[in-house]
């Protein structure tokens, strides 16, 4: 066992753990990060194999329950597909890096309708951190969107505007709806020692690092600044002392099998919206006087449409996302629900095999005579888009611990339950109608919808986004952490991953999660002396 306390212990080496390590190590603090997985090298990715599209259905599947990777932990789910990666860089190893920001109203849903809480911070509080994290991470986009607050230019300009994007833009123009070129954590020019996107379209993570994989974009800087990263170290519990402060974490070295203890003055949890509540619940219900740990799991409402046009657009080329539309991003109760959604317009799948075997809407080519005529009509003519919206919190949608089943480490298995509520279902019904509008406006000769309902009517969302399970707030009765991500109960314990988000917004959350982590880390850096000794949380 180690007896020398680190200044800061970070649990999890994904996006937020990386950013926290960078900020705190650069400040000269002794930073130790424990990561249960390992490094994911370029050669581990499927990108350099001819069977890359099969691999992303199997060993590179983003769903932990489909790929069965040795670094994963078990998650039992009754509905959601559980998409994450356990390793250095976390889920940025497999994500798509669509990079829109939250809107100002996303932080004020308590004022707007009261079915969600207000955040204890505002968009304006976070905006500078969006800008700075974008520069650290490397992003692309076009400023000047009239559907969003003004912002500085992205570090690199927008990605190529493909023929697929032109078809979609034309459809939205026909409808008179907003659209804007997609923002992405993908660099359109060489940046920070990494090569520009080459438009390969694979976009299930990026082995060359053009898509910001934090093990390539952030961790090298954090290590150079002195952060110590220990891989294959699975944390089993966080310990607390008599003074109410976290003392460190018990972990198993997965190489030697030894149980060890890493003491620390400050503990930061960065284990994602499943891993962090799982760890707190397994640590004798730590930091959970509010009974909110694990609750209010948010995935977003999600529906999709795949359609085919006569024009040859070869949408397999280029970054997977082409543009976004914020036409329905704000609440309009005339639609019959609160909150909004946006369209994430894709190009197409980059895989000819997926065109035949099923992509967004799982439409499959016929077998036998007629297969190739079908393929010739569909390949190069395919487009897809998602509608992604702000789901309402429900305390019964949650991460919990299985009372009986334990994993090979002896830790309780995480259980995940999610069911969309009435407002969410109304929104998704509306989304599906609007998706049809887009397909028709694009002149589609065929379209198919994806509602993610299984044959029994269970909504099985591909839950890329797992947020809200240790939400921040201004009231210790209804939230787990305060506006600085500091536990209300354990004053030297911080939660910087997506579980701290109070609402989901209408967007992919990693840009917001990253900006929040940067803000929290700088707060810890600037108040380290006080935080390393206090036995009381700061005021909300």
């Amino acid at each position: 066992m180690s007896t020398t306390p680190a200044d800061v212990l970070i649990i999890g080496a994904g996006a937020t753990g990386a950013l926290a390590a960078l900020v705190l190590a650069r400040a000269g603090l002794d930073v130790v990060c424990l990561e249960q997985g390992g490094w994911v090298e370029a050669g581990d990715h499927p990108h350099y194999s001819s069977d890359w599209s099969w691999q992303r259905k199997t060993r590179w599947n983003a769903d932990v329950n489909k790929r069965h990777h040795v670094d994963d932990y078990a998650v039992r789910t009754d509905a959601s597909h559980v998409l994450m990666w356990n390793g250095v860089g976390g889920s940025t190893n497999v994500y798509g890096a669509i990079w829109p920001r939250y809107r100002p109203s996303d932080f004020r849903k308590g004022d707007e309708h009261g079915l969600q809480p207000n955040w204890p911070i505002s968009y304006e509080d976070l905006a500078p951190y969006y800008d700075r994290s974008d520069r650290l991470i490397g992003t692309s986009g076009l400023s000047g969107d009239p559907g969003m607050p003004p912002r500085p230019p992205s570090p690199t300009g927008p990605l190529p505007f493909t023929d697929a994007a032109r078809v979609l833009a034309g459809a939205f123009d026909t409808l008179g709806w907003h659209w804007w070129p997609a923002e992405a954590a993908v660099i359109s020019e060489d940046y920070d020692g990494r090569p520009a996107c080459n438009g390969c379209g694979v976009c299930s993570g990026c082995a060359r690092g053009s898509m910001s994989k934090y093990s390539l974009s952030i961790w090298p800087k954090a290590l150079a600044a002195g952060a110590r990263l220990r891989i294959q170290a699975r944390v089993l519990r966080v310990e607390k002392g008599r003074d109410g402060r976290a003392t460190g974490a018990v972990f198993r070295d997965r190489v030697t099998g030894a149980m060890e203890f890493q003491p620390a003055r400050i503990v930061i949890l960065a284990g994602n919206g499943v891993g962090t509540p799982r760890l707190l619940l397994a640590s004798d219900n730590l930091a959970n006087s509010s009974d909110q740990v694990g609750r209010n799991l948010l995935h977003h409402t999600l529906t999709a449409c795949e359609f085919w046009v006569d024009r040859k657009i070869d949408g397999h080329m280029g970054y997977v996302a082409s543009m976004i539309s914020r036409e329905f991003a704000e609440t309009d109760i005339a639609r019959g629900f609160v909150n909004g959604f946006q369209f994430n317009c894709l190009t197409s799948t980059s895989s000819a095999g997926e065109i035949a075997a099923g992509w967004l809407a799982d439409v499959k080519a016929p077998w036998g005579r007629g297969h190739h005529a079908w393929f010739e009509r569909r390949f190069g003519h395919n487009l897809g888009l998602f509608a992604i919206g702000d789901d309402l919190p429900n305390p019964e949608n949650r991460v919990s611990l299985d009372p009986e089943q334990r994993d090979e480490e002896g830790a309780p298995v995480a259980r995940l339950h999610y069911r969309p509520g009435e407002n969410d279902r109304r929104m998704m019904a509306f989304q599906l109608d609007r998706l049809v509008d887009v397909a028709k406006a694009a002149g589609a000769y065929d379209y198919r919808l994806q509602d993610y309902l299984d044959e029994n009517g269970v909504y099985r969302t591909p839950a890329w986004h797992m947020i809200g399970t240790c939400r921040m707030g201004g009231d210790p009765e209804t939230s787990v952490v305060n506006k600085w991500h500091q536990s209300w109960d354990v004053p030297n314990l911080f939660i910087v991953d997506g579980s701290a988000l109070a609402t989901g917004g209408v967007v992919n959350p990693t840009s917001t999660i990253s900006a929040l982590a940067l803000r929290a880390a700088e707060h810890i850096r600037d108040n380290f002396r006080e935080l390393s000794a206090t036995t009381r949380p700061r005021a909300a």
Binding site: S50, S53, G157, S350, G353, A357, H372, F379, G380, L453
Partner: protein, 170 residues
């Protein structure tokens, strides 16, 4: 069934799924049966081939010895009674077919700049042209923090769980 018969069965199976067309070789011609067999074992277990043969039952003979009409009838019957395994075989065969370098060549010959391993060299795309590609529509709005207003949420009656049948199957 002997190993030789199993090999012939798999070849007949993929040729029935992917019989080829003008400019498109058949499935067995490009060897789809080999990755199909490997993927069956990888994803469904070591006895997956035995279970495939068992699942085909009497239809295996038609696949091995019948003409095209008989083979199509055999697969149609199998598809109807075992959608899970049939679906896996069909999808795995499709994926293996389009991952084959000869088929990528066929895609290219049909006028599409498609690569077998696109990540290596990527696709050449024109850069975003600010003058040409920047949206000029002027549409879009957002609400300032201080301008967020209360909506009449009570008029929505969200406590009524009435939206049960929704989605494409409603």
């Amino acid at each position: 069934m002997t190993a030789t018969e199993t090999a012939k069965l798999l070849a007949a199976l993929v040729d029935t799924l992917l019989p080829g067309d003008t400019g498109w070789p058949t499935g067995a011609t490009v060897g789809v049966q080999a990755p199909l067999a490997a993927r069956l074992v990888q994803e469904r277990g070591e006895d997956a081939l035995d279970r495939l043969v068992a699942a085909l039952g009497d239809d295996a003979a038609a696949l091995l010895n019948g003409d095209e009409a008989a083979r199509v009838a055999a697969l149609t019957a199998w598809e109807a009674r075992d959608q899970d395994l049939f679906g896996f075989v069909r999808d795995a065969a499709y994926m293996a077919y389009y991952e084959n370098p000869v088929i990528v060549q066929a895609i290219n010959e049909h006028g599409h700049p498609y690569r077998l391993v696109p990540h290596v060299a990527g696709y050449k795309l024109a850069r975003f042209d600010l003058a040409r590609d920047t949206p000029r529509h002027g549409r879009g709005a957002w609400i300032r923090t201080e301008a967020v207003q209360r909506v009449a949420v009570e008029t929505l009656h969200l406590d009524d769980e009435r939206t049960q049948n929704w989605g494409r199957k409603q």
